[in-house]
Symmetry: C2
């Protein structure tokens, strides 16, 4: 039986998981690859750290040239994080004739066009299933399985850290800061979780998915995004009372003007699949013109789920499927561009959840409802409870309003007026509701 | 740009959908295939029926030799239903050098080994994404994307007709017969829906998935199955009261003895993804040792969702991915067998829902609880309402019991005893509860 020699560069958590799968589960991998896949070398700058995999002697090295100089190694799993030196290592690997598998979405979001062009020039391939939604096969799903469809929209929960924090706040009633601390304690959040909670990570992944699904080349920085750091535990309580959960949704949708992209905390109705995505899970709802709605749900991060995606890519690369896909799809190639609609997401028609702090006196509701009505914004539900003790002190009570579908910009304009009313406190909250 | 000439044999509903995608959406298909895919011929015995696709003149023919004799046609979509003449047409196509794409799960469940062996001998391929779960990419999902995993279990809703009927009964409170009639009226059920509602269709699909996931070669007839025709609308009401929905689940699970397979109406807890699968949708929950749980949800039938899967297969075939997968996976080849556990599903340990008709007199509950206790079956919940008017007449009232996890065979043995009690009417109901 044929043997394919492969290597891992970057033996951190994910890399160790990949090594474990290759070493411990070689039988089933052989069955799916039709050949033995032999881990020939693992390169890392740190030769001493404890890893949960028993590497055969001599396999671990800190010398990248053991990979680049070995012509018998055809495919390399590149799991160096960040941009530097990940980019230069990727180029070195491609230039030494290797097909590369990566999980580094930041690298693709920043340098995708350059890296893909270089790989094409060199006749090599890059596989990146693990870069979005960990173990969920969404890259193959969109790039291969749904390829007969004009994709019409993606609604996705792509950041497990944020979803864990929101679920925690919703189910335990703990506030944002305490829920972040809990996520850090359990290993679901980094010491500095800002890229996760501010929507940047989800925007990078959305840029990759949007490119696959719509051929749109998008700078992730241009995707409007709101993080979950603005979400108050009170909003989760009110949302639940209205029959909704709050999720950090990454949305890409074809509209007449082009492709609309944004990331923001969004109310999702209970009983719909997206609302049932709890904890560190990810999910993607894809609508295609032929297939209708398809929904994928699973673990979006973690050692073994991500390793599962990396090894699937490795098998695809070794057997030759990746080369075909890479050649036919021409991702991030110069010619393929699609118009991106630049609408401010605040102006996009939709339903909205509004929470205002208002004076606890007669006529206030009428005044606010009047402004909304004059802007053509119709009210679907209202929550105003009797003031709780701590609120009564200053005579301010929360007023929660869920609107019906409102015309473009109407809610923004109405809220600008409402925020200026003397009966309304500063700091009103606004979130989109999934249509 | 290169052009791949393809044909469709069997131009019914799905075939017309495939033709529509190829004719109307050729741009995006070209993008994913890296070449033009040209529909060169469509063969059907019926040249006159109305189809919702405008075929170019001369494309439709009732002569199969227009396909088999044309060496420029490489890939053929074969959508003839049933077994005869579908099997012989498939063989003819393979023998004339065509790669074949099919949606016919009955054909694969019956003649898979023969057809796959023949295709291998001839150096051809068979693609069958559309044969299970319509537009959901579960064949590629398991066969390719999760190939690093030892799959541990599949829990699937694979028959849209049954799920439509059960959803209808649950949401509208209509009885089984009326719900079937409604499904027929809306086109979700055939005039004779027996293969759908008795679990046969789900068992055929489960046999295909089990082969892909576990390498197990299973005769679908040997899969124990209970249909939904035994489900009473009262059971859906009680299940809902307990926080569950009833779904026709097809289950494949690795146990120490081998692979356990069965199809039966099963209680699934509200708030879990499977419970939220409504109407004609399908869903598959896959657990792999590395990836954990991955969940797929979408339309399992219908013209365009199925056509979406067929055209994805057609693209895979034309670009060469299918040939690679077909060669490496060696599906249904002689050597690959896996032990199948032959346990009677009634004996499998689990939780159970029981509904008994009992005498409305003191001591009955104690008697039944006593039998269960002596068989080590512990009671999790009980529903016994005051007798309704129509029930009071004969002094019989329904008693619903949900058990905790019970040891192997214990519930069967206890129920045999309970059914013999003088206070218990004939015809008790038993359904599994998903663990």
């Amino acid at each position: 039986m044929e043997t394919a020699r492969v290597a891992i560069v970057g033996l951190g958590t994910i890399g160790s998981g990949v090594a474990r799968l290759l070493l411990e589960n070689s039988d089933r991998i052989t069955r799916h690859a039709g050949r033995r896949i032999e881990l020939a070398c693992a390169v890392d700058t740190d030769l001493t750290r404890t890893r949960n995999v028993a590497l055969p002697a001599g396999l671990l090295s800190d010398d990248l040239s053991r990979v680049t100089d070995d012509p018998r190694i055809g495919a390399v799993v590149q799991l160096v994080g960040g941009l530097k030196p990940a980019r230069s290592i990727m180029l070195k690997l491609l230039e030494s004739g290797k097909d590369v598998i990566t999980a580094n979405k930041a690298l693709l979001a920043e340098h995708g066009p350059e890296l893909f062009d270089r790989a094409r020039e060199l006749g090599r391939s890059i596989a990146f299933e693990a870069s979005v939604a960990g173990g969920i096969p969404i890259i193959t799903g969109i790039g291969q399985c749904l390829s007969a469809n004009q994709i019409q929209s993606l609604h996705a929960i792509l950041n497990g850290t944020s979803n864990f924090i929101l679920t925690r706040m919703e189910e335990h009633g703990t506030d944002y800061a305490a829920s972040v601390a809990e996520a850090q304690r359990l290993g679901y959040a980094e010491a500095d979780p800002s890229m996760d909670v501010d929507g940047s990570d989800a925007a990078q992944k959305l840029a990759i998915l949007a490119h696959l699904a719509f051929g749109a080349r998008v700078d992730w920085r241009s995707i409007p995004r709101t993080g979950i750091d603005t979400v108050d535990v009170a909003d989760l309580r009110y949302a639940r009372e209205l029959g909704y959960s709050v999720k950090l949704l990454a949305i890409a949708e074809l509209v007449p003007e082009g492709l609309e992209l944004h990331v923001s905390p969004t109310l999702v109705r209970h009983g719909t699949p997206l609302a049932e995505v709890r904890g560190a899970h990810n999910a993607i709802r894809v609508v295609g013109d032929a297939v209708g709605r398809v929904f994928f749900h699973g673990l979006g991060a973690g050692q073994m789920p991500t390793a599962s995606a990396v090894v699937a890519d490795l098998i695809d690369t070794v057997v030759g499927r990746t080369a075909i896909t890479f050649r036919t799809l021409e991702l991030w190639s110069g010619e393929k561009e699609a118009p991106v609609a630049a609408r401010d997401p605040e102006k996009i028609p939709g339903r909205f959840y509004l929470r205002l702090g208002v004076d606890d006196r007669p006529g206030v509701m009428a005044e606010i409802a009047g402004v909304l009505g004059r802007h053509d914004v119709s009210i679907a539900s209202v929550i105003q409870h009797e003031a709780a003790d701590e609120e009564e002190a200053d005579g301010i009570v929360p007023l929660v309003i869920m609107t019906h579908l409102a015309p473009e910009g109407a809610v923004s304009d109405a809220m600008a007026k409402i925020d200026g009313l003397s009966c309304v406190q500063a700091g009103s909250v606004r979130m989109r509701v999934r249509n």
